[in-house]
Symmetry: C2
C-alpha cells in the first residue's frame, strides 16, 4: 500500500499511495498530513468523501465546548476542499475510471501531490495533478495548485472553492460565526472565534488561474452561506490545454505570539497585507521557499543516513523526522507536542508524557533549542500543576496527565468507551491516578541539562521545575507502619491495564529518583548558587522541604527482584490470574482483549498494555543488572500486548541493550509500521507522536547505543544485521558531532569548538574527542 | 424524475424516484420527508452520501447557539443511518451496478420504501428493500425495516447501526453530550441537551433480525464513540435467504407537552418502557397502526377528489395534504407551522405569515381544531409581540416577522447572502420593517371566526389578539401634515425587493382593515359582552384606544388607482427604472437577478419578488373592482419574478377570479412544481409550506371559487379545462359539507346538523342548504 517510490534522486524520500481506497481515508489523511508546528492540516483530498476527516489545527488554540467536555484543539475552517465539476461530472473517484493514480508526500520538500487520469462517466479522459504545501517559511501560509487537462474533449469546468467554517470536531462546533467578507473583489476573508477561549481566527484565500501558462479569467460569482464564503468559477479549456488553478490561503489567530495584544481589526488588516504579498509569489516560489526551509531546519541540520538491505528503513526514519518537525512548535514556548501532533482529533490535541519521554530526546540530542522550548512549556504550566496538587491535598507541582493551555491544569476526559458488561461508559482514571507524568518531566529536564549543560535554562526554569515536582512526590508518599516504608498507593503506572494498584515499580523508582536528584541539586545550589537557592527557598520553602526529603529518601519502598529476579510491577500483579494471551498477542487491531473482558476483569489478569518495568530499565538503566533485565524481559514481554504505541520502541531499545539485534530490528520495524505499515486503520485519529519519537530512539539510542550515563555520553552500537552503515548527528554540551557507525568502525567528528574536547565512552572505554575519532570495535 | 406510479389500487398516491442521482439528494430528502407534526425526519438514505442533509427535528425545541445567531430548530441525533457491508463491500450506489431502483413515498400510509438490486463490485447480486415510517399513532416512534438477500452467493453482512448525535445544523452543534447507555443488553439509549434552552432529548433504539422469517441472532458488539452509541452486528445469510432487520426507535424531549415537569430520570425510564412496548409490536403492526391513523386523520376526514386529464393533479393535492399533516403540530398549541415544515434547515424552523395566510386556510376550512391550535400559538406569543412593540416605541402587539418559541419575540436573522458589489453580507431588513405580519395574524383569526363562529376562541383569545394588533397599528401611523393623512413610512411590503418604502398599499390597506375591524368588534363587545370588554379595557386601555382608532380611521392614507387604474404599490414604485426582465422571468432558479444587481440596485427597479397588490386583492377582494384588478394584474404580473414560493398560488387564485382558467391552471401546475417538479435543487432546504398550503387554496378557493364574503360562504367554481370533477369537504360554522363540482353541476351535501340550515351563495345567488343542494351552472 504505502512505500517508497524511487524518483530520480529522491530515493527513500517519498511516501506513496498507489491505490485510492475510500474505506481507508484516515490513513493517508494522517500520515501525509502537513504542518509546521504552528498549524497542521490533514491530507484530506480536494474532493470530499464519506468517512473523511478534514482537520485544520492551530497549535494551542484550545477551546472547551461546555462544562461536560474537556478543552480540545478546535477544527478550524477548511481551506483545502474544492468541488470540481467537469463536463457535468463532479470529480469523485468512486465513479468513472481512475488510471495512474499516485499520491505522494515528498518528505524532503514537504509537498504533497496527487496525480491521476480520470475517465468520467461521460467518457472524457481528464488528467489531474494536485499539489499542496503548508509553508515552513511563513507559518501562516497554505498553498495549493490544481492542474487539469482533457485529452479528448473541450473541458467545461465549474469550481466551487473558498473557506468553509462548518467544520466540527466530530460534531462539536468550537466557533462562533464571525464576519465573512470579500475584499477587493478577490480576497475571501472569514473570521471565526472560539466559543469559550475567545480566540479569533482570521482566514484569507485567493485564487488565480492560468491556461497553458497564460493568465486566464473564468467567470466568477461570490457566494456566502452559513459559515462559508466561496467562489463559484465557470470556465473552459480546449482539448489538451492545461488549466492551472492556484489557491493561496492564510491562517492567523489572536493567540499567535505577538498577536495577543493585536485588536481583531488590526489582525485582519495585517493578514490581508500578508496574503497579498505571499500570493503574489505564486505556488512555485512558495514551494521553493518552504523547501529551502526544510533543508535548513531539518535535512541539512540533522541528517540521518541508514544503509540497509531494506531501503524502507531510511524512509521510516525520515518519515519520523518529517513529522517530528510538523508537530513541534519551534516558534512558541507556550505549547508542547500533542499525542497525535496536529494530524487528528485523537487525544484532543493534549500533551502527555509522550512529549517528554518519547519525543523530546530527539530534540535534546540534536536540536536543543527546540527541546528547551518544550521544557519551558512545562515551566509555564506550573500554576496548573500546583493547583492540581492543592486540589488533591498535596504540595508542589503535580502535573496533569493530559495538558493543554498553560493555566488549564488537568484536562483528561473522565469517560471513555463502552463497558461490554455493564453497558455504561468506562471511567478514565488516568487524570486522577496516573501520576508518573510529573517524574517524567523532571527526568526530561534533567536529561536536557545533562546533554546541553544549559545553565541558563536551569537557573531560570529547570531547578524550580524539578524541585517542585520532588516536593509533590514527598507529599504524596504514604507511611506504611507495618513495613516501615513510604508507599505510593492507589496509582496507575505506564501499564494502564492495572488501575488502582499500590507501589507500581516504575512510579516508585522514578519518584525516588526525582527526590534524590532534588536533594543533590538543592545541596549543590546552596553551595554554588546561593541566590538561586534563596529564590527557590522563598517559592518552595526549600529549607523545610529538603529536610523532609532527607528524612524520607531512604525509606521509600523500592520493589526488589524476587527469587526469579522478577521485579513485581506492583504489589499484586504477580498474584493475578494467568490466561492464554496468544489471541491478543496476534491481534490485528489493538485492544482486542476488550471484546472479551471489561476493564475490571483485565485489571485482574497478568496482562500489560505496554512497557512498564521495561521503561524503568531504559530510563534508569544503571540501577539494574543485565541479569535482572533479562529475567524481567522474559517474564513481562510475553504478557505485554503492546496495545499502546509507546511500547514497541522501548522494547526495541532494550533488545538492543540486551544484545538481541534481530529482535530489536523486528520491533523497530513493527514500531515504524504503527503509522507507515499495512494496517489501514491505525492512524485514523492521527499519527502516533510517541512512536515516531521512539523510532529515532530505536535508531540512535538503540542501534547507535547512545546514552547519557553519569553525565557523559556513551556510544555502544548494535547495528541490525541488515544495516551496513548508520550516520547521525548529536549536539553535546553545545558541540555538534557527527557519528558514523559501520559494522566494525565508529567514526566521530566534532564540527564545532564550544568545548576544546569532550570525553566520550565508546563500548565501555573512555576516549577524548578533540575533533575526530575513529575506533574499531 | 418524480411522478406517480400506478400500483394496484394506489393510483395517484405514490411519489416515486426512479433514478438515484447523487447530485440531487436534497430533493427527495425534503419532499419525501416523513413526520407527524411532533417530529420530522428527512428522507436521507440508510447509507450516507456527500452532500446529503440528514435532519431530525422535533417541533419547537428551539435553541440559540450563541448571541451572534438566532434561535433555530436543532438537528437532533440521527436514528436512520446504517452502514451495511456485504461480502466486503459497503453499500454505496456510486459503486457497482444498480438495477430496478425505486424510492416510493406512499402518501396514503405515510410509508417510505426503497428497493433495488445492487450488483457489488465483487459481482454479487443483492436485492434490498428498505421501509420506514414516522408513526402517526405514537408520535415518538420511528420504525425501519431492511430486507436483504443475495441470489448468487452466501452473504456475509456487517451492519453498524445505532444513534448518532454528531449531527449539526450546517456545522452548528446545538447539544451538549449526555449519557450514552446500553440497557438490558439491547436498548441503545442516548441523552442530549440543547445548550441554551436546556431541553433534554432522550433517544432509544432497538434492533431485531430474522432470516427467512425465523428469529436470528447475529454476533453483536456494542460500540461507543463521541456522541454516538451503536452496534456492530456480524452475520450471514445463505444464497436466496432473506435477512430482515428491524430497527424501532423513539424520541422524547422535556419540552413535550406533559413532560415539562418530568425529571430527566423519569423521562428516561418512561421512554424505555415505551420503546419496549412499541418495539414488541414489530414493524408491520406499527405500519398498520400509523396507516389507520392517516386514514382517520386525513384521507377519510378531508378527502379531495380531482378528475383531471392529468392524474398528476390528484397526486399534487394529496402531496399537499400529506405535508400539511406532517408539518402541523396538532398536539400542542405552543408551536406553529414553519416555513419549511420539519423538512429542512431552511428558515431555521421559524414561522412566518406563511402559517396564517397560506397554510391556515386549509385547516380553517376543513379541520378547524387544528386551525385554532395554530391561532392559539400566536395568542400565547403575545408577550414577545408586546415586547417588540415596546422596544420599537410602539404600543400593542407588533408580531415578529419570524417567530420561534413563545417568549422569543423577533428571531429574524440580521445578515444574509453576499452583496455582489460591496463584498459584504447583506442586511436582512424583514425583522425590522416587514410589519404586515401583524395584520395577517388578525386577518387569519377573523377568517377563522367567520368560518367557524367559534365564540369561545374569540372570547378567550381572538378579541384580545386582534384588538392588540390594531392598537399597534394605530400607534404605528405617522401624521403627514402636508397631505393631512396618516402614513406608514419606512416599511417593507410582501414584495421584499422594495425595502424602506412609504405607504406600501398592502400594508396600509391591511392596517386600515385591522383597525376598522377592531372598532367594530370593540363596539359590539361593549354592547353584547360587557364583561369581556371590561377585561380587555383593563389590559388594552380599550376606552382610550377606541377613541384614537375612531379619530384616525378615516384619515389613514389608502393608495387609490391612478388614471390607468393602477394602484401604486408604494409611494415611489411607479417612478422607478424599467429594465428588460425576460431573462429573469425565464430563469431556471429563483434569484437570478442578484447575479447582475445587488439589492440596493434592485430596490430602484420596477421589479417585484412576489404578489403584493395581488395578495391584497385576494384578501380584501370586495374593496376592488374587477376592472382595477385586471389593470393591476396587467401592470404588475409582468414585473413579478415569482422569486418567492408564496407568489404563484395567489396569482393562480386571482386568475381564477378573473375568469382566466387556463392561466389559473398553468400557475397551479407551476406552484405544484416548486416541490414536485423537475427542478432538482428547489427543495434542498426543505419543502415550501406556503406553496403547499397555496395548492389547496388554488384548488378550493381558486378552482372551487370558495370564499367567505360578508360572513357567508360563496362558491363560484372555475374548473380548469382538463378537469371534469372536483370534490372537497368544508366545515362551515361547525357543519361538515361535501362539495362536488362537475362542469355544469354543483352538488353540496351537508352531513351534520349543527345548524338546521346554512345560507350559501353560489355564483352570486343565495341558497338555503338544509341537507343537500344540486345547482346547475
Amino acid at each position: 500500500m504505502l512505500y517508497d517510490k524511487k524518483r530520480g534522486n529522491l530515493e527513500n524520500w517519498i511516501v506513496t499511495e498507489e491505490v485510492f481506497d475510500k474505506r481507508y481515508l484516515g490513513k493517508c489523511e494522517a500520515i501525509m498530513s502537513q504542518g509546521n508546528g504552528y498549524m497542521g492540516i490533514r491530507a484530506a483530498t480536494e474532493e470530499t468523501y464519506i468517512g473523511e476527516v478534514r482537520n485544520t489545527f492551530v497549535g494551542a488554540t484550545f477551546n472547551r465546548f461546555d462544562e461536560s467536555e474537556v478543552t480540545e484543539l478546535p477544527n478550524a475552517a477548511d481551506l483545502i476542499q474544492m468541488e470540481i465539476e467537469l463536463n457535468g461530472h463532479i470529480l469523485n473517484l468512486d465513479s468513472g475510471i481512475v488510471k495512474g493514480y499516485s499520491r505522494d508526500l515528498n518528505l524532503r520538500s514537504g509537498e504533497l501531490t496527487r496525480s491521476f487520469v480520470w475517465i468520467t462517466p461521460g467518457g472524457d479522459e481528464i488528467s489531474f495533478k494536485f499539489s499542496r504545501l503548508v509553508s515552513l517559511r511563513n507559518k501562516h501560509i497554505v498553498a495549493q495548485k490544481a492542474e487539469i487537462s482533457c485529452v479528448n474533449n473541450k473541458l467545461d469546468i465549474r469550481l466551487k472553492s473558498g473557506i468553509n467554517a462548518q467544520m466540527t470536531n466530530s460534531g462539536v462546533q468550537h466557533f462562533t460565526e464571525g464576519e465573512k467578507r470579500l475584499y477587493e473583489g478577490e480576497y475571501l476573508h472569514l473570521v471565526q472565534t472560539t466559543t469559550q477561549s475567545k480566540i479569533d481566527f482570521v482566514l484569507n484565500s485567493v485564487h488565480s488561474f492560468k491556461l497553458d501558462n497564460s493568465a486566464y479569467e473564468p467567470s466568477s460569482l461570490i457566494m456566502m452561506d452559513r459559515r462559508k464564503i466561496y467562489y463559484e468559477f465557470k470556465g473552459f479549456a480546449l482539448g489538451g490545454q492545461v488549466l492551472s488553478i492556484e489557491k493561496i490561503s492564510s491562517i492567523n489567530t489572536t493567540r499567535d505570539m505577538g498577536s495577543e495584544d493585536c485588536s481583531l481589526q488590526e489582525l485582519r488588516a495585517k493578514t490581508l497585507e500578508a496574503i497579498k504579498l505571499e500570493s503574489s509569489k505564486g505556488y512555485d516560489r512558495l514551494l521553493n521557499e518552504s523547501s529551502e526551509e526544510w533543508d535548513n531546519q531539518v535535512w541539512n541540520k540533522t541528517p540521518i543516513e541508514v544503509e540497509s538491505e531494506n531501503p524502507y528503513d531510511q524512509l521510516a526514519i525520515r518519515f519520523a523526522q518529517y513529522h517530528l518537525r510538523t508537530m513541534t512548535p519551534m516558534h512558541d514556548n507556550r505549547m508542547s507536542v500533542a499525542a497525535k501532533g496536529l494530524s487528528g482529533e485523537g487525544y484532543k490535541g493534549h500533551s502527555f508524557w509522550d512529549a517528554e519521554i518519547f519525543v523530546l530526546p530527539y530534540f535534546t540530542y540534536s536540536d536543543p533549542a527546540a527541546a528547551r522550548n518544550l521544557l519551558e512549556y512545562r515551566y509555564l504550566s506550573l500554576s496548573g500543576a500546583r493547583r492540581k496538587a492543592q486540589d488533591n491535598g498535596y504540595e508542589g507541582a503535580m502535573f496533569p496527565w493530559e495538558s493543554a493551555w498553560l493555566e488549564d491544569g488537568e484536562v483528561t476526559p473522565v469517560w471513555g468507551a463502552a463497558d461490554i458488561v455493564t453497558g455504561k461508559a468506562t471511567k478514565i482514571w488516568s487524570g486522577f491516578i496516573e501520576q508518573h507524568i510529573s517524574s517524567d518531566i523532571a527526568y526530561a529536564a534533567w536529561q536536557y541539562y545533562q546533554i546541553t549543560r544549559d545553565e541558563e535554562f536551569m537557573d531560570m526554569y529547570g531547578y524550580e521545575l524539578m524541585l517542585d515536582i520532588a516536593k509533590f512526590w514527598s507529599s504524596r508518599l504514604e507511611w506504611n507502619e507495618e513495613r516501615q516504608r513510604y508507599h505510593i498507593n492507589n496509582i496507575m503506572g505506564p501499564d494502564e491495564y492495572k488501575e488502582h494498584v499500590n507501589n507500581n515499580a516504575f512510579t516508585n523508582y522514578m519518584a525516588h529518583w526525582t527526590i534524590k536528584n532534588a536533594i543533590s541539586y538543592s545541596e549543590e545550589l546552596k553551595d554554588k548558587k546561593p541566590d538561586i537557592y534563596e529564590r527557590l527557598n522563598r517559592v518552595l520553602e526549600l529549607d523545610e522541604t529538603l529536610k523532609t526529603w532527607l528524612d524520607r529518601i531512604d525509606r521509600i519502598y523500592l520493589p526488589k527482584p524476587n527469587e526469579q529476579q522478577v521485579i513485581p510491577q506492583d504489589d499484586t500483579y504477580l498474584q493475578k490470574k494467568l490466561i492464554p494471551l496468544a489471541k491478543y498477542k496476534n491481534q490485528e487491531n489493538v485492544g482486542l482483549i476488550f471484546k472479551d473482558y471489561n476493564l475490571e476483569q483485565v485489571n485482574n489478569i497478568q496482562v500489560s498494555k505496554q512497557a512498564d518495568i521495561m521503561i524503568l530499565f531504559y530510563l534508569l538503566e544503571s540501577l539494574f543488572t543485565k541479569e535482572v533485565k533479562t529475567a524481567n524481559w522474559s517474564y513481562y514481554e510475553p504478557k505485554t500486548l503492546h496495545d499502546s504505541s509507546l511500547s514497541l520502541s522501548t522494547h526495541s531499545i532494550l533488545a538492543s541493550d540486551l544484545g538481541d539485534s534481530d529482535l530489536a530490528y523486528e520491533l523497530f520495524r513493527k514500531a515504524s509500521e504503527i503509522d507507515l505499515g499495512p494496517n489501514m486503520k491505525t492512524s485514523d485519529h492521527g499519527i502516533h507522536a510517541a512512536s515516531i519519537g521512539g523510532l529515532w530512539q530505536c535508531v540512535v539510542n538503540g542501534f547507535g547505543g547512545v546514552r547519557l550515563l553519569d553525565g557523559e555520553i556513551r556510544i555502544a552500537p548494535h547495528l541490525p544485521k541488515s544495516w551496513s552503515r548508520l550516520k547521525f548527528p548529536l549536539v553535546i554540551k553545545g558541540d555538534s558531532l557527527l557519528i558514523e557507525v559501520t559494522r566494525n568502525l565508529i567514526k566521530i567528528i566534532k564540527t564545532t569548538q564550544v568545548n576544546s574536547y569532550l570525553e566520550i565512552n565508546i563500548n565501555n572505554q573512555k576516549y577524548i574527542l578533540d575533533s575526530e575519532l575513529a575506533i574499531n570495535y
